[in-house]
């Protein structure tokens, strides 16, 4: 190989090295994005944490709904008992939409065991009272005597509590969440049913964030 060719080759190698070095400092991962992936709500997604996630909600509420239907106060009741939902108390470190738990249990019971229980819609009370006043004042028609109190009273209150425990160590972070739900007799204050589910998760973040 003569000298000019040699130096040409050297220049090419050096240029390649330069370009290769510079290329590593730029660039975008997934420039076109990641297509939307439809997943089942009880499936663990590729975006995950140690907190309360949809698959936990589904599995916990499924278990609770099945469990409630098995108790004698519901299964052998002559008249479907009336249940009022009382907000779940979140005692974990994860801020969540608490209403989702009871809403899903209610929907499960109403859709899968229609007629065995009935739920009283206390969220609608203000609207219902306004409607009753309109009927009483004769501003709107009524199919029954609006002066008779027909709003149902609760036989049971269904509520729950989420408790959590967190451990953080060099090996990662671990979160244990205990989900408890209970049905309380509105007349006697006795807890007639209670069940729980527990989920523990742990993980370790990328070193770039530790």
């Amino acid at each position: 190989m003569n000298h000019p060719s040699r130096f040409l080759l050297a220049g090419l190698v050096a240029s390649s090295a330069i370009l290769a070095g510079c290329a590593t400092s730029r660039g975008v991962q997934n420039p076109a994005g990641v297509p939307v992936t439809e997943m089942r709500p009880d499936e663990r997604g590729f975006v995950a944490g140690t907190g309360i996630e949809s698959q936990d909600l589904v599995s916990v509420t499924d278990k609770m709904a099945r469990s409630i239907l098995g108790i004698p106060q519901i299964a052998r009741a002559q008249v479907p008992p009336s249940i009022v939902l009382d907000p779940v108390v979140n005692n974990t470190r994860f801020p969540i939409n608490k209403d989702m738990f009871l809403t899903r249990i209610r929907v499960m019971l109403n859709s899968k065991a229609a007629g065995q229980v009935s739920f009283l819609d206390r969220e609608m009370m203000k609207t219902l009272e306004r409607e009753r006043e309109l009927k009483r004042s004769g501003q709107v028609t009524a199919s029954a005597d609006p002066n008779v109190v027909e709003f149902g009273g609760a036989d049971f209150f269904l509520t729950g509590k989420l408790e959590g425990n967190t451990t953080k160590a060099a090996a990662g972070i671990s979160d244990y969440v205990l989900y408890t739900f209970r049905l309380t007799d509105a007349r006697t204050s006795r807890i007639v049913w209670e069940d729980f589910a527990e989920i523990k998760k742990q993980g370790l973040e990328d070193a770039a964030y530790r």
């Binding site: 050096a14 400092s25 005692n91 470190r93 801020p95 959590g164 060099a170 990328d206 770039a208 530790r210």
Partner: protein, 432 residues
């Protein structure tokens, strides 16, 4: 290149040797120019000013076709800076009383910082030699993430969800915990205090959390006992928060600086001075930023800096060797001997030297100094029982001697609801 012209017109061995010498000198020079031209790029844009996000605004770098102020009002936000923008905009919205907007920003941020980040391609690249740490999606240092949860907790409480507020305060304390730095582990006074207050309001036992908060506060500070009947919660903040900067030979060390604010405490004066609510500083973000302990990323950046220095020294040594070999080749050619071997050695060393210099220059060691730049320095809190209706007063800030800083006094108005939901009043010395 002059060497190239000599190739076309020169003839004979002497002329060819001249070409070689020119090329030996020219190749590294060309490569060096290409290196600096090719690798030169600026830091990402500052989302507030349009200048460098990593450092101070660069007024001299304004191009003739630079975006106008109107253009900058809606800056393009790189996805990796999204959480940073959420943080800044969220607290600005909170201070402006735009609570829905603040909630949306903090929810967006918490969705991103609340999980466990694994297998993130950009984070993985940030750990490599030739990619800067600031290439990773920003989630902030622990004191920044804690503040996102703290502000979101305030908003939850304002929305009548003290249990979710408590969850936020607990998450903040977990973020601040460090298994290797037990002395400064999860030591925010207010996070534990508010955790306990929320529990007390939810008919649970908040005494453990209160005791932890008191232990963090130290013997000099007597935390008020919980009053579950208190229906107005005052969250106050003052002073300017910590600043990040990159220290070390190659900027590989992340450091924090807090310009101590003249405002050392505050008080709320209501009912024409008949009711004075002290708002002492319970937490100091400057202290929290500097006592968090080291990061794993610090070790990675340290290794990068070590490589950068080593590659640079190796490059220098190889280039020096190339010069010596080239000189040897010229000497042999003057003596009529074959200088090809020395020339080859010079070229080889030159290439190695260039590669070393390139590798050194391309190694990105700088610590990530993107920062939540509108945080306060000090945090305070007070709870009070007030009758429903409109209330007005003034917020006074005091210096270290307890003198009121008159120019900083703010007028305060708030309304207490008649329902059983707590009224949350957010008070800040900072405007945005």
């Amino acid at each position: 290149m002059s060497g190239g012209a000599a190739v076309r017109h020169g003839s004979g061995r002497g002329a060819r040797a001249q070409v070689c010498r020119g090329a030996i000198v020219g190749a590294p020079l060309f490569a060096a120019i290409a290196l600096f031209a090719g690798c030169a790029y600026g830091p990402p844009p500052d989302l507030r000013t349009g200048a460098g996000l990593n450092g101070a605004p660069r007024a001299s770098a304004v191009a003739p076709n630079a975006p106008t102020a109107a253009d900058q009002r809606v800056p393009a936000v790189p996805e990796r800076d999204r959480v940073l923008v959420d943080y800044r905009a969220g607290v600005s919205a909170l201070r402006a009383g735009n609570f829905d907007e603040a909630r949306a920003y903090f929810d967006d941020a918490i969705v991103r910082i609340g999980g466990i980040i694994t297998n993130d391609a950009e984070a993985a690249r940030a750990r490599t030699l030739f990619t800067a740490e600031s290439n990773k999606p920003f989630i902030g240092e622990p004191y920044e993430r804690v503040m996102a949860y703290y502000y979101r907790g305030i908003l939850y409480w304002r929305d009548g969800q003290p249990d979710n507020a408590r969850a936020c305060f607990r998450s903040g304390q977990v973020i601040d915990s460090d298994p290797e730095q037990k002395n400064y582990d999860a030591d925010y006074v207010l996070l534990d205090y508010l955790d306990g207050l929320a529990s007390a309001k939810l008919q649970a036992d908040g005494s453990d959390a209160w005791a932890r908060a008191q232990a963090h506060a130290g013997a000099q500070v007597a935390l008020p006992a919980y009053n579950p009947a208190a229906n107005v919660l005052f969250f106050a903040e003052y002073g300017y928060g910590p600043r990040k900067y990159a220290a070390g030979q190659h900027g590989e060390m992340l450091r924090f600086h807090t310009e101590d604010s003249p405002t050392r405490s505050a008080r709320l004066v209501l009912e024409d001075g008949r009711k004075i609510i002290p708002l002492p500083a319970y937490d100091d973000l400057g202290y929290q930023a500097t006592t968090r302990g080291g990061r794993v990323m610090d070790h990675i950046l340290g290794n990068k800096a070590y490589f950068k220095t080593g590659a640079n020294i190796a490059g220098d040594a190889a280039l020096a060797g190339a010069v010596i070999a080239n000189d040897q080749a010229r000497r042999r050619e003057r003596q009529g001997k074959d200088g090809d071997d020395a020339n080859l050695t010079a070229v080889g060393l030159g290439i190695l030297g260039i590669i070393g210099k390139i590798a050194s220059a391309a190694t990105r060691t700088e610590a990530d100094t993107r920062q939540w730049n509108n945080l306060p320095q000090r945090l305070s809190f007070a709870a009070l029982k007030l009758p429903p209706g409109e209330h007005a007063g003034r917020l006074e800030f005091m210096d270290r001697d307890g003198n009121v800083l008159e120019s900083r006094t703010q007028s305060v108005r708030f309304s207490v609801g008649a329902d059983d939901r707590d009224t949350v009043v957010f008070l800040s010395e900072l405007k945005r």
